[in-house]
Symmetry: C2
Subunit: 188 residues, 2 copies
C-alpha cells in the first residue's frame, strides 16, 4: 500500500522547483484505486478514535476525504474555499494563506455540518506548510468539536507543517514522507 | 437506490428560490454511502460503453466522479476551475458561464490526462442549465476523444440542460429528475 503510492511518486511525479507534480494520479487526474487505498490506510490509522466526521478543504483533499469517510462509515465535509453555488450564511470560518499562490483564502464550514459532539479527522493530499490544516483545526475548535488527528497522503518533511502539528500534540499520520533536495525526491 | 436519493431530497433539501440546497449530503457535507450508490448507478448505466475516463469539473462533481470511476475501474479527471497549486500549462480549455454566480470561468484539463483514445463519461451532481457539461463536452472534443454520455445525480427539468443534451443526441442518465414549482420540489 505505502509501496503503491511510493512507486507512483517515483514514476509519475516530476518536480517543478520544490512542487511535487501529482496531477496525473492524486489531484487532477485521480487514480481512484490508489486513493481508496490511501483512504483505507488513514481510516485504519484513526479507527480507534471514534471519528464522527472527516474534514478537508476544497478541492484537492476531496477525493481522499471521500474514500476515508466511506471506509469509516461517517460523513465527509469539505470546507469551501471558493464561492460556488449555494453556501449557508451561518458558518465557521478561518483565514488561510497560500505561500505558493501568495494569496489568502477564507475556509468556511456550515454550522449545520459540525458541532460540539463531533470527533473530526482532518485529511489532505499533501502536507506542506500546513496552513490549510491549521485553518481547519481553527474551524474544529470554533465548533467546539474535538480533533482526532490529521492524516495525509504525502508529508513534505522540508516544510514546517508536520513539525508544527507534532509540536502542538496533534496526532499526525502520513502515508509517505518525502524531502525535496537538489531537485530530487527522497523518501524518509 | 433512486429512493434513497429521493428520500434525502424530500427530507434534507430546503429550497432557496429555485436553488435546491443539497449541502448537507451532496456538495459540502458528503453522505459517502449515498454518493457511492449514485456512482454505482451511473457506472451501471454506462457500463456497456467501454468508458476509459470519468470527467467532471471542480468542485462539486468530484465526489460523484470518484465513486463512479472507482466502480468502473478507470481514472477520474476533474477539470480545474480555480488556480490552486500546480497546473500544467499545456491544457484543453473551455469558457463556461455560471448563471447563478453571474460570472465566467475557464475549465482546464491537462493534455496529459485526455487523448483521442479516450471514451469519456461526464458526471456532475446537479444538471441545471448545463453550462459546465457543455464546457466539458467541448474539452472532450478538443482532445479528439469520444463522449460516452452524461450522468448526473439530479436533473432540474425546468432548466434547459437536459433538453439541450438530448437534442444534441448525447446519452443522458439522471438518477432523479425534479422540477421546482411554486416553492415546491416535484419528482418527475
Amino acid at each position: 500500500m505505502v509501496s503503491d503510492l511510493r512507486r507512483r511518486l517515483e514514476e509519475d511525479a516530476p518536480l517543478s522547483g520544490d512542487i511535487i507534480r501529482v496531477d496525473t494520479f492524486l489531484n487532477h487526474q485521480l487514480d481512484t484505486r490508489l486513493i481508496a487505498q490511501i483512504g483505507g490506510a488513514l481510516a485504519k490509522a484513526f479507527r480507534g478514535k471514534k471519528v464522527t466526521k472527516v474534514l478537508t478543504s476544497e478541492s484537492s483533499g476531496i477525493p481522499i476525504a471521500c474514500f476515508t469517510a466511506h471506509e469509516l462509515g461517517v460523513p465527509a465535509v469539505y470546507a469551501k474555499r471558493f464561492m460556488t453555488g449555494y453556501m449557508d450564511s451561518d458558518v465557521y470560518a478561518a483565514e488561510v494563506h497560500s505561500f505558493s499562490l501568495e494569496k489568502s483564502f477564507t475556509l468556511r464550514v456550515s454550522k449545520r455540518c459540525l458541532d460540539r459532539n463531533d470527533v473530526v479527522l482532518l485529511v489532505d493530499d499533501i502536507l506542506s506548510n500546513g496552513q490549510d490544516v491549521l485553518g481547519l483545526l481553527e474551524i474544529v475548535a470554533k465548533a467546539g468539536a474535538e480533533a482526532a488527528g490529521v492524516g495525509v497522503a504525502i508529508e513534505k518533511a522540508n516544510k514546517d507543517g508536520g513539525r508544527v502539528l507534532r509540536q502542538m500534540g496533534i496526532p499526525l499520520y502520513s502515508v509517505v514522507t518525502v524531502e525535496v533536495e537538489d531537485g530530487e525526491l527522497r523518501f524518509l
